[in-house]
Amino acid sequence: MSRFLVIGIVVAACLVLLVPLAGSQYLTTHVTRILVYAIFAVSLDLLVGFCGLVSLGHAAFFGIAAYATALLADKVGVTNVLISLPFSILCATGTALVIGLLTLRTAGIYFIMATLALAEMLYFLVHDNDFFGGSDGILVLSRFYLGSTSIDVSDPVIRYCVVVTVTVAVLVGLAFLVRSPFGRTLQGIKSNERRMRALGYNIARYKLACFVIGGALAGLAGHLYLLLTSLADPSILDWIHSAQVLMMVILGGLGTLVGPMVGAFVFVELIDQMSVLTEHWKLAVGIVVVVATLFGRGGIAGVAGRTRAWGVGAKRPIT
């Protein structure tokens, strides 16, 4: 890892830690939201960037976990994060396992469409069913706590601290994961599937493992999202939501860990600023997406990597 990157991460970490001290509740929740999307984006990057699995149904796992958390709070009254967090991740993981088993039989566009189809089924299941709150979703009115009721996770600052901790844990975990033999194997699959098979790798099993881990992490993000907004509604299961996260990953840079986080930040801010500037912000966002994809190979991380003057070494082929 280059010195520049280390310095960058340290500076970013300091900034992140300073956020609550700035005293603006908005800033705190805003950064919380970006971090939640950063986890979500990085979980999708594990599929797309490290394993070559382009999914348009990734929001399903995010949504399932958010709904699981909301239902647990609304129907059972459990608002202890120590219970609802594992529960919701378990739900997302189980869903990812089933969807993965079904969709990984297909490849290429068929895989993209199969993931989209299954996610749309979940969308309609939730949307058309009163148990899930129908089109308006489930709004959790009670507050969430961590372990003991004295740690109020619905408080913006405490929630922020929790989300920062989780984000760091996810990043560190993934940094180890992608350097492990397992992570290297995924990169090999993405690079040359046929060759991996000839070396004796059981590709299907690795892809499924990758898909399920990605699903579990998306579930983690979904759980945190619910802590943030208290609302689980069908729009979080929509394929458009998946497409947006995919854009974050692409904007930031495929196959990197920091890229998708930067992408999440840029994407959220882009829409935010554009929608303030002009009513026709979709036009601007559309143009940015088209241009960035056509010309900005490797996303922001890639462009930064190519700009050697910045000191980001482009020598290392991977990571």
Binding site: S24, H30, L231
Partner: protein, 399 residues
């Protein structure tokens, strides 16, 4: 939460906020003695997405009303901070968070989608802001979720269609089939009608719930012909309403099974696209631009003169939202710091709205007339008043 405990907690919350966040703005005294301090109104509406024209119409109506008041409310100049919720709760919660906590507006007006309203309401009330709801009509807002600082200017879903039940029975039809878009508003409006229709002795022969993403309703029409109901009562809105009304007429059903529905089926923004297919369709609602009362005639004429646009339900909602704020704040002399007094002042607002006499129920939903509106040659004509002073049931509201 009762008003008393809420008020006593207000000061505490404010202090806690100032302490925990060290926020400068939150700690600024909200005393009104500064006189010229601008009144900041957060306006959160869908300006993009399928209901964007709702957002536009409400904004136009609101700005018209503000202009008529010389840009001032209770002697304070008004600053409007707009936010586009895109009819998406994910976006809505972000925008609401920004406008309520960063821009620190004095009160919030919003929104249209009943899917976005819950997050908006949560953020507004968590931060002790007055919330005026210009359109979103979910029953729960002024029932289970009712709150002393949340006032709705439009109507509840129940209010829109329930009176049409007994009214339709009196007109003749005894066996009615219903159809409604499969989402909360569609279900609430259609079920309110169906319930009252059955209570009066009518029969609901079948209920259809087409999905939001469906384009083509033709497949349902064969069933309508087979079951031969006396009438059809429906809820559709936006482009789906255009599709439904056109397809219903094209299928030759309009002359066989008369079509009734909620006023969203044929509002004046949709009517040009529906064309002759809408002729003779009768809807129940709280407003039509052709209402003959003096307040409406004045509103329609002045609105047209000022904006060049034809008045519609959305413009009226925008107009009335601002009127409610203005009349309420005049009673408190522009002071929003005492939430109990503020709530009480707004609650007691009464005026002649373009839709007819306007006052709030105990649950802070309007008590208003519901009319039968017929589409004819590109116009919406009020053919009779279905029921005067309709009030949404308030039992579920404990606050």
């Amino acid at each position: 939460m009762t008003k008393e405990t809420m008020i006593s907690r207000r000061a505490f919350n404010k202090a806690a906020l100032a302490l925990s966040a060290g926020s400068v703005t939150a700690a600024t005294p909200l005393r009104f003695s500064l006189g010229a301090e601008a009144l900041k109104i957060g306006l959160i509406l869908p300006y993009s997405g399928v209901y964007a024209n709702f957002g536009e119409g409400i904004t136009a109506g609101l700005e018209f009303a503000l202009k008529k008041r010389g840009g001032q409310i209770a002697g304070r100049p008004v600053q409007i901070v707009k936010g586009d919720d895109q009819l998406d709760p994910k976006v809505g919660s972000e925008v609401a968070q920004k406008i309520v906590t960063r821009d620190n507006v004095d009160l919030v007006i919003g929104t249209v989608g009943s899917n976005v309203l819950p997050v908006l309401q949560k953020i507004a009330t968590d931060n002790n802001k007055l919330l005026i709801v210009p359109t979103a009509a979910g029953n729960a807002t002024t029932r289970e979720h009712c709150h002393p600082l949340v006032f709705r200017v439009s109507h509840s879903n129940w209010q829109m269609t329930a009176p049409a039940g007994p009214w339709l029975l009196k007109r003749g039809p005894k066996r009615v089939m219903t159809m409604g878009m499969n989402y909360a508003t569609g279900k609430e409006e259609v079920n309110a009608f169906a319930e009252e229709f059955k209570r009066g002795g009518g029969t609901i022969v079948d209920q259809k719930w087409p999905g939001l993403k469906e384009l083509d309703y033709q497949a349902y029409f064969a069933d309508v012909l087979a079951q031969k109901p006396d009438a059809m009562f429906v809820f559709f809105a936006g482009s789906n309403a255009v599709e439904f009304v056109k397809q219903y007429a094209q299928a030759g059903l309009k002359s066989r099974v008369p079509l009734y529905g909620s006023a969203y089926l044929i509002d004046s923004t949709l009517l040009p696209a529906q064309g002759p297919a809408a002729d003779g369709v009768i809807t129940s609602g709280h407003y039509a631009p052709t209402l003959g009362n003096p307040a409406n005639k004045k509103f329609v004429a002045e609105y047209k003169a000022a904006t060049g646009r034809d008045a519609d339900m959305n413009a009226m909602h925008g107009h009335d939202s601002l009127e409610v704020v203005a009349l309420g704040l005049e009673k408190t002399k522009g002071d929003l710091s005492d939430k109990a007094a503020l709530s009480k002042a707004v609650q007691s607002v009464r005026f002649e709205s373009p839709r007819g006499p306007f006052r709030f129920s105990r649950a802070r939903n309007p008590i208003q007339n519901i009319y039968a509106i017929e589409a004819k040659d590109g116009k919406l004509n009020v053919i009779e008043t279905i029921q005067r002073d309709v009030e949404d049931p308030t039992e579920a509201c404990k606050a």
